[in-house]
Symmetry: C2
Subunit: 323 residues, 2 copies
């Protein structure tokens, strides 16, 4: 953290997003790339991505007899979910009931796509720094015919822990963090937020239910309300840290679904990861480059230092600063 | 690739790097953060990083009795290697003999640090987009007391392939790419450059010797000369692609060293990875965000499409355009 920084400084945040732009394909009433007109939606709005990376009928690449040239079709669907009709709000600026509507929409889309696909990846890229190509508040949902790499790694680790220790890895992990208190950022009746022991991004957090829950649709009404409220707190804390609309990529991981949904997945625990890129200020980010890409992630701040930081600073909802 | 892009556009390249800046700590004769004065070096120049991420005497974190809270000391050294006394040249703008001097310096530092450490990671972050904090042409060398994550994965894959198929994975892989010709970018007497079958970055390449070589110091004089020349070709091709000083992170991987250097590492093959971030133009990059961080890398262009692209375009050394 003492290194002189003559490197890249990010372009300043575009703060002047109009509330409604009829040319923005995510806005109510706008025409999308495929010619469809969006409804005048008033809450969340889910639609098929007009430029899907995964398609239900992707052709098979054909078989290869060589072990080094094996490929398989990656099939699936890609959806976009707008969080709110207004372009100039973000989740932390939304009310708790509005965030609660997003939680419900996440649960339903998981249920709907999980009926067919083994993995439903909900993720939000927030901010231009995280490759977000449209400022209107939204997330994406990509369902796939296969367990993606990260899902496979989490499956292996959680399965191995359960078989060695007889309980779900993340249940024991959450309990330990509650006892140790070194990395806890927020707690509520039903949820925990902490900087995980294994974090690689400076302000990375893990959001965990206290109860053993496999997937989003299983959350009770009380857990959903409480999730909306702890998300609002976490994201406001993030915004306050560098007094900016804090960029991140986040996403949910839960037990696999699809035709195998009925198998025993008790070693899984539902959770969300938050991966924010900022390191020193609103415009100086952490670069995961050379050593990180070729060898191993290395941290500039320990999780415990970040925790100290997360407890300081103004606890003013950023919406007051950034109306 | 058809998606509309309203996302981040990178700041334009700083083209006005002065050849010599007495305040730049990487320049000949400049004073560094620790008060040392650089020699008036005329070729490459290797020195200890004044802000090392790894230190030889890092304290042990102490033992934990809980399986989820295991930590170990990461010990090592971090060095910086300047490629050339001038700040306004990059490797592709250097002459073949000048690049050859860099190859020799890479081989010696690997030998020197590999006497003590099991892993010597040489890497170059080129360009502000790749977190490079100083425009003077340089790379870094981080030697560690442990095999980093990526090294461990390559160790496992290469060992498994050798035990199943009786030959090194990358020897067979290079041979196959020479036969198939779908992804070959450049070939020379002693080297191959190809877009690997498993590439995740759009213009990612793999640089491989044709002969079975475990580590950089084993390269013959002819292989070193030829490496300098194919590197100049590859990096000029990169610069020409979007008519910019092409950013990337690159690094070398070879068999582990240190006290285990004498073990059997015949399943290893020396290679370099190039990971360039650009996708559409000199200012629009690929973002490895949401889906990639939480699920799996996905490509916007297939390796075979990239290959087609790499054979097109002006074959003018970029130095003529950018003197
Ligand atoms: O060592 P530098 O050039 O200061 O820093 C750069 O390379 C390091 C190693 O890949 C990264 O950890 C830093 O994030 C990056 O900015
Ligand atoms: O889908 P978008 O918003 O166009 O694109 C964004 O998210 C995708 C999924 O993480 C990434 O592959 C793209 O690089 C990124 O720019």
């Amino acid at each position: 953290m003492k290194r002189p920084w003559q490197g890249q400084v990010e372009p300043p945040l575009l703060t002047t997003v109009p509330r409604h732009d009829p040319h923005n394909p995510l806005c109510p009433g706008a025409t999308r790339a495929n010619g469809e007109v969006n409804p005048h939606y008033e809450g969340t709005f889910l639609f098929d991505n007009d430029f899907p990376a995964l398609q239900p009928d992707a052709p098979s690449p054909g078989s290869s007899d060589h072990p080094l040239f094996q490929a398989e079709a990656a099939r699936g669907v890609c959806k976009v979910m707008c969080f709110h009709p207004w372009s100039d709000v973000t989740l932390p600026l939304m009310s708790v009931p509005e965030i609660r509507a997003v939680v419900d929409a996440w649960a339903s889309v998981t249920e709907e796509l999980g009926a067919q696909y083994p993995w439903v990846q909900i993720f939000e890229n927030k901010g231009a720094m995280m490759g977000c190509s449209n400022p209107h508040p939204h997330c994406q949902v990509w369902a796939s015919s296969f367990l993606p790499d990260v899902a496979q790694r989490e499956e292996r680790s959680q399965r191995a822990y359960q078989s060695q220790h007889g309980e779900p890895l993340l249940m024991e992990y959450g309990r330990q963090e509650l006892l140790r208190k070194d990395r806890l950022v927020l707690t509520s009746e039903h949820w925990l937020v902490l900087v995980p022991f294994w974090a690689v991004w400076p302000f990375q957090t893990l959001l965990l239910p206290r109860r053993h829950v496999l997937r989003l649709p299983e959350l009770t009404l009380a857990e959903r309300d409480d999730l909306a409220s702890i998300m609002k707190k976490l994201l406001t804390k993030y915004d306050n840290l560098f007094e900016t609309s804090f960029p991140y990529s986040m996403g949910w991981h839960g037990a696999p679904m699809g035709s195998e949904a009925g198998a025993n997945w008790d070693h899984w625990q539902l959770h969300a990861h938050y991966y924010p890129p900022l390191l020193r200020s609103a415009t100086v980010r952490k670069f995961m480059v050379g050593y990180e890409m070729l060898a191993q992630a290395q941290r500039d701040l320990t999780p415990e230092q970040v925790w100290t930081w997360s407890t300081l600073g103004p606890w003013v909802p950023f919406s007051l600063l950034f109306p």
